[in-house]
């Protein structure tokens, strides 16, 4: 029942997205703009400041992720369908999981375009250890989206949601950003530092477990009017 509801919510979001491409195109465009803005600040004489590629990649993911998170519940609000979702005879936590899966999927597709772009523009050897990089990106994206989906859901009814989402999200997701940037930087070294990258993935995995548990635990009382 739980998994079925979550997958139904995910399918609904994917079908809507596949018809409009609204969130995907805006998120990706915004991420690319972020990369360009940082390039102007950090590229000197045609080469980039050491380690900056890792930072640029994660900042682009975090900023674009915030944009996507803001949109995911906006659609439900316009159509007044959030109430319908909450009234449905389904576990509320499953709705959260469905929304979370949708965001993770969207960001994963955006990252699949973003990573080659960063590799190309800054000649960063991001594909030296593809599996470890994928692990970092997945664990980091899940952690960021787990906190973000909960906050975005809570803010749906708030008038100031556009301002409040980043204010709430960034202080809590600092560990994700640190782990992502440091882990990626370890992979970018001349000889990739695998143990360090693995340690950051482990930290991110622990973060994901704790914060998804917390979100599942608080979603029900938070969404009750």
């Amino acid at each position: 029942m739980f998994a079925k509801v979550a997958l139904l919510v995910l399918r609904k979001d994917v079908v809507i997205e596949a018809k409009s491409f609204e969130m995907f195109s805006t998120t990706l465009f915004f991420a690319v703009s972020c990369v360009l803005v940082f390039a102007f600040a950090l590229v000197r004489d045609g080469t980039i400041v050491a380690d900056a590629a890792a930072g640029i990649l994660w900042i682009a993911i975090a900023f674009a992720g915030t944009l996507a998170l803001g949109r995911t519940f906006e659609r439900e609000r316009y159509a007044e369908t959030l109430r319908a979702l909450l009234l449905a005879p389904a576990p509320r936590a499953a709705i959260y999981v469905g929304k979370l899966l949708g965001i993770v999927l969207l960001l994963a597709v955006a990252e699949a375009a973003l990573v080659p772009l960063v590799t190309l523009l800054f000649s960063a050897p991001l594909f030296a250890r593809p599996l470890l990089l994928a692990g970092l990106l997945l664990a980091g994206t899940v952690g960021f989206a787990a906190v973000g989906t909960l906050f975005a859901a809570m803010l749906v009814r708030s008038r100031t949601r556009d301002v409040m989402l980043p204010i709430l999200l960034y202080p809590i997701t600092v560990p994700v950003i640190i782990a992502g940037v440091r882990g990626t930087a370890a992979l970018l070294e001349a000889s990739p530092d695998e143990p360090v990258a693995r340690m950051w993935i482990a930290l991110l995995a622990a973060f994901d477990v704790v914060f998804i548990t917390l979100a599942l635990w608080t979603f029900e009382p938070l969404m009750t009017e």
Binding site: M154, R159, M164, P171, I172, P175, I178, L203, L222
Partner: protein, 217 residues
């Protein structure tokens, strides 16, 4: 709690009046000299902040799951007091840092954690103020998340770099220093309790006033 307010206030005032004498008489720390005296109010202000943060987190959980309005009032009072003591620590810290490390802001582990916690609880207050109706629940969730974030912040930031005096400094203080130090800690924790209580009374009066308005309508 209310009936202890006046006696506690008297004790705290006396302690704060006596603290400068104790601190002045404490021996000079060998390498730092006069600057080391900052320690007597810098460290206690962090003790007070962390205590207030945990009060806020636990009361927020009580509010969210049990729906007790009193818990929410204690949580908001504790959050305001936590931001106040955090600000105190963030101001006194760089004063020490400039003298002992030569830089105002070292980006070391503990400093960074403190700054992020301070930001989390400023965000808590911002949400409550500008979040519109229902923002108490939102703020409560933020406080719970902020509390559970502490170990992750600690780990992630710690691996970065550490030059802050270790917590092991406290038990190993030279003779003559632990007395004034723990005296200052006790005074700060008492002050924190009093401020939360004072703020709570204000919040309760506000709630009572709202209830009266509702009755009138």
């Amino acid at each position: 709690m209310k009936k202890y307010f006046i006696p506690l206030l008297a004790v705290t005032t006396a302690m704060f009046a006596y603290a400068p004498i104790m601190i002045a008489n404490a021996p000079f720390e060998a390498s730092m000299g006069l600057v080391s005296k900052i320690f007597y109010f810098h460290v206690p202000s962090w003790f007070a902040m962390f205590t207030a943060v945990f009060i806020c987190g636990i009361q927020s959980a009580m509010f969210l799951f049990k729906g007790k309005p009193t818990a929410d009032r204690i949580a908001v009072s504790a959050a305001e007091v936590a931001v106040l003591f955090g600000l105190m620590g963030l101001v006194t810290g760089p004063l020490w840092g400039r003298k002992s490390w030569g830089i105002w802001w070292p980006w070391d582990a503990r400093v960074t954690i403190a700054l992020i916690l301070e930001l989390t609880f400023i965000a808590y207050l911002l949400v409550r103020k500008f979040g519109g109706p229902g923002s108490e629940k939102l703020a409560a969730a933020l406080a719970i998340f902020g509390m559970f974030n502490v170990p992750f912040l600690y780990m992630s930031v710690n691996i970065w770099r550490t030059i802050h005096p270790k917590t092991s400094v406290v038990p190993a203080l030279p003779t003559g220093m632990p007395g004034p130090f723990w005296f200052s800690v006790a005074a700060y924790l008492l002050l924190m309790t009093l401020l939360i209580q004072l703020r709570l009374q204000l919040e309760e009066r506000r709630a009572a006033l709202d209830a009266l308005y509702l009755e009138e309508e």
